[in-house]
């Protein structure tokens, strides 16, 4: 039997190696975003660190600088050419509007529904909950074609409002089940005490219970934001000119070649906000991923 120290050290090494393996794609992605084109497409060797780092990929995608001008300024004209539709600062603004808008709408609708589902008993409650749960499991592809028609008819196609509404639809089931689990954590005695004092249900909700679940609201909001931020299929079907980041990035892959420098720069930018947010809600993550059924 190996000594405890050997055992412990080998476990530490295994843990670090496993996590490092999972971090490698992110590292490679970020590294690529600082590479000049010549280093990305090197067919003779894999370039790790021996390249001259550049911010040209960020300047083109985030600031809308022209690639040709930047290339002439820096003297590196390898692979210059092609259309200049890589300016993505509008895409970033649109993505933020859509994600924030749908988060606010989702939270507003889901917290009142979740409170009622947690506190008021009514006939068919379990069936109603199951119905909401079933919506979470509906593949978006099943509804997208009619939604495109419907949005076209209502003038919502290719608009930010349309994306806000559809992201809200997708997020609502998760948000309401998650919020219900947070309300369930608050003892009913809190409501009963307020009720004896003569408060109405709505007053209890707003003045008494809601202040007790602000942490839960924040966690739910973060998860809604991330879902909306990363959503791809619905945005792809519903938009042509207004694009969210994941869809915009996918248009950089063309049959004549992919602009990996721009793709990785924009991709890295798209990932950073999610990372910051997710580190804020580590404690509630498991609950969010299991629709409130599992608490840590």
């Amino acid at each position: 039997m190996a000594s405890p120290l050997v055992k412990r050290t080998s476990r530490d090494i295994a843990a670090v190696v496993v996590v490092a393996l999972f971090m490698f794609p992110l590292f490679w992605w970020a590294l690529t975003s600082f590479k000049p084109t010549s280093a990305i497409f090197d067919k003779d060797r894999v370039v790790f660190f021996d390249f001259a780092p550049t911010l040209i990929n960020y300047a083109v995608t985030l600031l809308g600088k022209s690639r040709a001008e930047l290339a002439i300024d820096s003297g590196d004209t390898f692979g210059v050419g092609g259309v200049s539709s890589y300016d993505s600062h509008q895409t970033i603004i649109d993505s933020i509007i859509v994600a924030v808008g749908s988060t606010i709408l989702t939270i507003a609708i889901s917290i009142i529904a979740a409170y009622a589902l947690s506190r008021i008993r009514f006939r068919g409650q379990q069936a109603y909950l199951n119905w909401i749960l079933s919506q979470r499991f509906m593949p978006p592809i099943a509804i997208i074609v009619p939604v495109v028609f419907m949005f076209h008819y209502l003038g919502l196609r290719d608009t930010r409002l349309g994306l806000v509404l559809i992201d809200t639809l997708i997020n609502l089931p998760v948000a309401v089940l998650l919020m219900k689990s947070f309300f369930d954590d608050v003892p009913v005695e809190v409501d009963e005490a307020a009720m004896i004092d003569g408060a109405t249900r709505f007053q209890i909700f707003r003045k008494v219970v809601l202040p007790l679940v602000t942490g839960g609201v924040a966690a739910t909001a973060v998860l809604c934001f991330i879902f909306a931020w990363t959503e791809f299929l619905l945005s792809l079907f519903l938009t042509n000119s207004i694009r969210t980041l994941p869809v915009k990035i996918s248009t950089f892959v063309t049959s004549t070649g992919s602009e990996w420098g721009f793709i990785s720069a924009l991709g890295t930018s798209a990932v950073v906000p999610s990372f910051i947010f997710i580190l804020l809600v580590q404690k509630q993550l498991v609950r969010g991923l299991t629709l409130g059924s599992l608490k840590e």
Partner: protein
Amino acid sequence: MSQAAAVSGASRGFVLPRFLRSEHPFPWLFPITAVLLVFGIYPLLYAVWLSLHKRNPVTRVSLFDPAWNWTKVFADERVWGAIGHTFLYTMVALAIELVLGLLIALLLDSDRKGYGFLRALMTLPLVVPPAVTGMMFLLMLDGSFGVLSRSLYATGLWSPEHPILATASSALFGILLADVWQWTPFMVLIMMAGLRALPKEPYEAAAIDGATAVQTFFKLTLPMLSKIIAIAVLIRGVDLFRVYDYIKVMTEGGPGTATETLTAYAGTIYFKNADFPYASTIALLTLILVIVTSSLFIKLFKVKF
């Protein structure tokens, strides 16, 4: 206070009907029900209605012909291929992610210094937009300059003549790699929460009886985790079944139709053929398969949320 409110309401000659008062669930549940009905259920019924129409590609007119798409869908070899790919993808990904997730959860479940940081790092892949994940692996698996492809070539495990994503027999596994990278952390997190919640006493008893670590795992840990595993498998399984993002950005269903899943095929019919009724039919078939498979699973494993 409520009495006072009722009195003042009555004095204005206006009393809210009972179902509009906050004691009744109706006003609370109305907004969410309305959104889910208008943007969820109505489109679903509309999709069913669409699937009962035959679209003429020349005149672009859809005529009511209820049997057309549904007979076509079962005679379509690409549909059967897509069903096969979808099930293969779902099963393989589920198996790998579950086993890897459980192993990594056991590995990282420690209170010692540094492990909290490792666990936090492990959650990062979860929030990368799946389309971006697809891009990452597309770059790394590129046949000529991708870092993963070249590492495989260097070790002699893979021949440069058959780029992973451009070869029919391996392309689906290239996509699976992206899925496994992104969603194994999902399993890790859930399993870790499950492990944390386990009672201590059975383990003390097992230790006294001299059980080995492997015995303890299979006799104690696994059975006690089964409920959580069932929930995780259900949620992940349903999401896997509708996989689209990775396939769209990595292979577009190709080479040929080697990586075409049901959702990807419906997307192709929509974008390339503009045959909206047929695209809806395939999408509904996907939904039906999800419902049947997940209901069976819920019955079989008695999943309870």
